[in-house]
């Protein structure tokens, strides 16, 4: 009965310790740290966002498109890594070697069509002029 819960004890301990550590650091910082605030110091570091701002702020929708593409093609890489690791083992089997190769070719083929699609639609152009959206200009 008790032994079943042992793994969870470790998780709970981790949570408690991490919250505790954050608390200790904040408290020690507040007690010992020099407080010498000036205007430049309270600005956000490098390219960080302003910590408090209106939530209705606008930014270019282009970032959204780029982020989506990044996720899509990043996933491709994430799937290719384990495939590459397993491929040497799979080659030992006469059947699965070719199946694995065919599968990864289909997978990248589908993604290549996707890349072609976003390219052709002009979604990769940062300065989108609309002229290239949707098919070729014949």
């Amino acid at each position: 009965m008790g032994a079943d819960y042992l793994p969870y004890v470790a998780i709970v301990l981790t949570i408690v310790l991490s919250i505790g550590l954050v608390g200790v650091i904040l408290v020690v910082n507040a007690l010992l740290g020099p407080k010498d605030l000036s205007g430049a110091k309270s600005e956000s570091f490098e390219c960080g966002n302003p910590p408090a701002d209106t939530s209705r702020k606008r930014f270019s929708v282009k970032f959204y498109v780029v982020a989506i593409f990044f996720v899509v093609f990043d996933i491709e890489a994430v799937f290719l890594f384990p495939w590459a690791v397993m491929y040497r083992d799979l080659l030992k089997s006469p059947v699965y070697g070719s199946i694995a190769l065919a599968e990864v070719l289909v997978f990248t083929g589908v993604l290549a069509v996707g890349l072609w699609y976003v390219w052709k639609k002009g979604a990769l152009d940062w300065a989108f002029d609309g002229a290239r959206s949707g098919g070729t200009d014949d």
Binding site: I99, V110, W116, Y117, S133, G134, G135, T136, D137, D138
Partner: protein, 519 residues
């Protein structure tokens, strides 16, 4: 190789989508995209032939596919319903989309991807595969629902469906997580076997919570009360061909998965002793759905919303069939789906696809006012469309000798056959509800034929594919009503496959004081 053939419906539908996407890229920017509708429909036809031909219940051979999908007659039957709705949605769109300023090739590609997802969702045995199929299907439908970019209502429909669909997906995942927590498996058959071999009466908590979450998630997809709130707004706001697909394919696949999941996982009869039992829950939902759908349907003045509430009501009748599961002679006591349900879904899909499809042909050049006043006098201005609409609507109402009547008659008869005395009150309620529903169906007919056209009588799209599709739907509504024997036989056959067979090693674990009653 055999696996590739067995899986051909799934990859054929996906390839159709990719092919449509490539053709769309290669065609001139300003060229109309309607021809892609024919490509999609042809792809779906090939998919359907492959499904009927190859889905015979034999297992996949490759080790990484073992126990992942169940490709059997049950799958093939519902695959045909999905493909029928999908092909109709593609063909109705050929003339609809240009009229409403959203003639884009992506619509047809998304329709094919959505069908592919629906097929995976339908056939999955592994619960994660099932979830993936659901998401492939739903994400495509969310986009298609918001496809009419100029229309705020369409955007709202897409957004609403997306948010509530996300909620339903979360319910489904939680339900899967509870089943996994209780049994340590994600495979329906394995979970069912665990529950058969370990007496589930000892600890009902996880399977109980999982069951409620799964019914809620799939109840959302089939638009059962109280998970129906999105239905009228989404069906009304979405482009009408998309509504055809949602009311036809999504609902059919939702019922198929609900039946297979509950019947396979909760096969042990001891589950009837759960505090909230499956038959009890489904019966409650069924009666609620019938009444709420009908009463709200009566007060609607918009044809699309009337049909949306009609589709909610039909979910109620179908849930009654889901409640009255049947025992199988000579088996280990596993109950299967009531054999009236697949046939009822067939009649419902044919008629509702026709009705929504005809609505998609009414109204042109971006305007789409589907209020009853607007279709007044349709019988005089567009006699063919009005006649086809009349057939589909009367079939939905269940007027003999149309398909809808045979569907209701057979379903109610089979529900009564399970338990003649116990089920009588519920069947009486269902029949009473059919009478209530007749009011709003006949209202459409009255407005079409007995009201003078208003100041701005409705215009109609004149397009061959839409008319042909509507004609086929109306003809099928009559044909199935007159000659139902083949379809009923098919329905009886596939419902036997609804619960996946679980080979157990020992006796079924039952509680000490076991009841031997059927579900």
């Amino acid at each position: 190789m055999k696996d590739l053939l067995m899986l051909s419906p799934i990859w054929l539908s996906a390839m159709t989508g990719i092919l449509v996407l490539v053709i769309d890229l290669l065609s001139a920017r300003k060229a109309p995209r309607g021809f892609l509708g024919y490509v999609t429909a042809a792809g779906f036809a090939a998919t359907g032939i492959a499904a009927v031909h190859y889905w015979n219940g034999s297992a996949l051979e490759a080790p990484f596919l073992t126990g992942m999908l169940a490709l059997d007659g049950f799958g093939a039957f519902f695959a045909l319903l999905i493909l029928l709705s999908g092909a109709a949605a593609a063909l109705f769109a050929i003339d609809y989309l240009p009229q409403h300023g959203s003639d884009r090739g992506e619509y047809y590609a998304l329709m094919a991807f959505s069908v592919c997802g629906a097929l995976v969702f339908l056939t999955a045995v592994d619960l994660i595969t099932m979830f993936l199929g659901l998401e492939i299907m739903s994400l495509s439908v969310y986009i298609m629902a918001a496809m009419k970019q100029s229309s705020a209502r369409s955007t709202e429909a897409g957004m609403k469906y997306f948010i509530l669909g996300g909620l339903a997906s979360a319910f489904l995942l939680f339900g899967i997580a509870f089943l996994y927590g209780a049994t340590g498996s994600l495979n329906m058959v394995e979970i069912g076997r665990y529950f058969l071999e370990h007496d589930p009466t000892r600890d009902y908590l996880f399977p109980q919570v999982a069951m409620i979450l799964l019914v809620a998630a799939l109840g959302f997809k089939v638009a059962a009360v109280p998970f129906h709130m999105w239905t009228p707004d989404v069906y009304d706001g979405a482009p009408t061909p998309v509504t055809v697909f949602m009311a036809g394919a999504v609902k059919a696949v939702g019922f198929a998965v609900l039946a297979r999941l509950l019947l396979t996982v909760y096969q042990n009869p001891a589950f009837d002793e759960m505090p909230v039992s499956i038959p009890g829950l489904l019966l409650t939902l069924s009666i609620l759905t019938m009444f709420v759908g009908n009463i709200l349907g009566i007060v609607q003045t918009n044809v699309k919303r009337i049909l949306a509430y009609s589709s909610i009501t039909h979910a109620g009748y179908l849930l009654l069939g889901g409640y009255a599961t049947m025992g199988v002679a000579g088996s280990s006591g596993a109950s299967v789906l009531n054999d009236g349900v697949p046939f009822y879904l067939l009649t419902y899909v044919v008629s509702t696809v026709g009705a929504f499809g005809i609505v998609s042909l009414l109204g042109s050049r971006g305007e789409e006012d589907m209020s009853l006043d607007h279709i007044a006098g349709l019988g005089r201005r567009h006699p063919v469309l009005a006649a086809l609409m009349l057939v589909c609507v009367l079939s939905l109402a269940g007027v003999p000798p149309l398909a809808g009547f045979m569907g209701k008659f057979f379903l109610f008869r089979e529900v009564l056959a399970v338990d003649p005395n116990g089920n009588l009150p519920w069947v009486v309620i269902a029949v009473l509800n059919s009478f209530i529903a007749a009011y709003y169906y006949l209202r459409i007919a009255v407005y079409m034929y007995f009201r003078e056209p208003g100041r701005e009588p409705v215009s109609a799209i004149r397009g061959v594919p839409g008319y042909v599709c509507a004609g086929i739907a109306a003809l099928l509504s009559i044909w199935i009503g007159l000659f139902p024997a083949r379809y009923i036989a098919a329905s009886q056959e596939v419902s036997r496959d609804s619960a996946l067979v679980i080979a157990t090693t020992g006796d079924v674990a039952r509680p000490a004081a076991s009841r031997s009653g059927k579900r």
